[in-house]
Amino acid sequence: MKWQDKVARVVLPLIVLVLMIGFWSFLSSIIEDFPTPQDTWSAATDLLSDPFYIESEDDMGIGWQVLHSLKRVFGGFALAVLVGVPVGLLIGMNRYFQYAFDPFIQIFKPVSPLAWLPLLLFVFKDINITAMSTIFITSIWPIIINTALGVRSVSQDYLNVAKVLQFTPLERVVNIILPVAVPYIFTGMRLSLGIAWLVIVAAEMLTGGIGIGFWIWDEYNNLNYQNIIIGIVIVGVVGWILDIIMGYISDFFDYRKRGRA
């Protein structure tokens, strides 16, 4: 990267940040009780100075709130991967499976997590399991769809190689289909993890308990408006970090990104 670009990558976001803070100050000057940037900053330093305190069951540091949310996210996400990848492989490899499942994938895919939540809460009666299963059921679709897409994108040329070499079906899956499909699977997982992190905030607001989503709602009820803004930023930053980590993992397994430097 040229040095101009390096500087611009740091300076330009800072300029946007200053503009945003300016607009924020303006908002807080016209909306009554809207927290000012200064109030929010001091509240944030206060919160983040001791993120892992445990006062009581209902009063824990912000770090714990985030960790509890992450635990649920990973639970639901892991389940979605475990179920979604094999289902996607089946749908991608056999068009009859695709015919069978495609209409239902299309119907359930756009359903909001908030619509699932009451049903799941009624079934499980447990906050944790409800949150995880909501994440599972809303984040599984991109994994299924992308896995199937990956399998279908195996080019006929590679399959011809498999034919000429007379691969068994298992050899074909291991040597040809999986290497092509894995990058797609990880793309699906990355989308899915993003959805899972979106879902957790909404789910926790409704289920309550410990977690960043409920914490934000709780701060609203306590009239700590500056903490809502802090919560938003924390959710955003954590989501960004999750995405970066997933990006690294998926690049690692992507043959197209290997041996190219």
Partner: protein
């Protein structure tokens, strides 16, 4: 004896096109191919060249007639035939070495690790790519990829090497270089080679015989031309060779006078 090495007898290939109709790509194909012969199949696009190659490879089956290789009717792919695909078809997630190893390992499962390594390296060396054996296909040029494709095909010791427009996607200098490689290798390995091409000079330079196809649908063999030029052949000297010029003119006459195709 050598006459009946590879024999195509009344071969026809029809593809169903729905509503009970079918498209007859090639029909009535009869030819005897000798051992160690280099054959080119030339014709306009849509003449069913690739269809014939795929049937010999066993990737497609003839709907009528028979293809017999060494007394055995071809009913599917087999290790006695190897294919070099037009777009090289290397697996991009494997290095040059691993691409060839995958084939050798599958076809010769009884090799010891040492024999396996030696065999893979021998064929990489044969196409002059020892320096690039640990590279991925994405890191090497089109000509090099096609050489790997040839090495992979030869490494399983096929009786027949089938090449589907192997150099079609390459620039003319690279193409000439690969043609030289191919002629040198064939002189050493001495297997039968069938090349699909649409390049007149390539057909004459490489082949012992050139099979000229009429236009599809229902394409068939129009003429078979013997190229009586000694090997090794030198592409520069050939330009003055009366036999070379005769063959070239015969093919051009066939392709552009007798079976000219307008919409290309």
């Amino acid at each position: 004896m050598s006459e009946s090495f590879l024999s195509l007898q009344n071969v026809e290939k029809a593809f169903p096109i729905g509503k009970g109709k079918e498209y007859v790509a090639v029909t009535d194909v009869n030819v005897e191919i000798r051992e160690n012969e280099i054959i080119s199949i030339i014709g306009h696009s849509g003449c069913g060249k690739s269809t014939i190659l795929n049937m010999i490879a066993g990737l497609d089956l003839a709907t009528k007639g028979k293809i017999i290789l060494k007394g055995q009717e071809i009913k599917g792919p087999g290790y006695d035939r190897a294919v070099v695909f037009q777009n090289h078809s290397l697996l991009p997630w494997l290095t040059v070495y691993d691409n060839i190893e995958l084939a050798v390992k599958k076809v010769m499962p009884d090799l010891s690790p040492k024999e396996l390594r030696e065999r893979v390296e021998k064929f990489i060396d044969m196409v002059g790519l020892s320096h690039a054996k640990d590279k991925y296909p994405g890191e090497i040029s089109g000509g090099m990829k096609q050489r790997v494709g040839i090495a992979r095909a030869l490494s399983i010791k096929p009786d027949v090497l089938l090449m589907d427009e192997p150099f079609g996607a390459l620039d003319s200098l690279t193409r000439a270089n690969l043609q030289e490689h191919l002629m040198r290798i064939q002189a050493k390995v001495k297997n039968t080679v069938i090349i699909i091409t649409h390049d007149v000079d390539e057909a004459v330079l490489l082949s012992d015989r050139v099979i000229m196809m009429t236009n599809g649908p229902k394409a068939t063999i129009g003429e078979v031309l013997e190229v009586n030029i000694e090997r090794p052949r030198d592409r520069v000297a050939l330009q003055e060779n009366p036999e070379y010029i005769r063959c070239r003119e015969a093919i051009l006459e066939f392709l552009y006078k007798k079976f000219a195709k307008e919409d290309e």
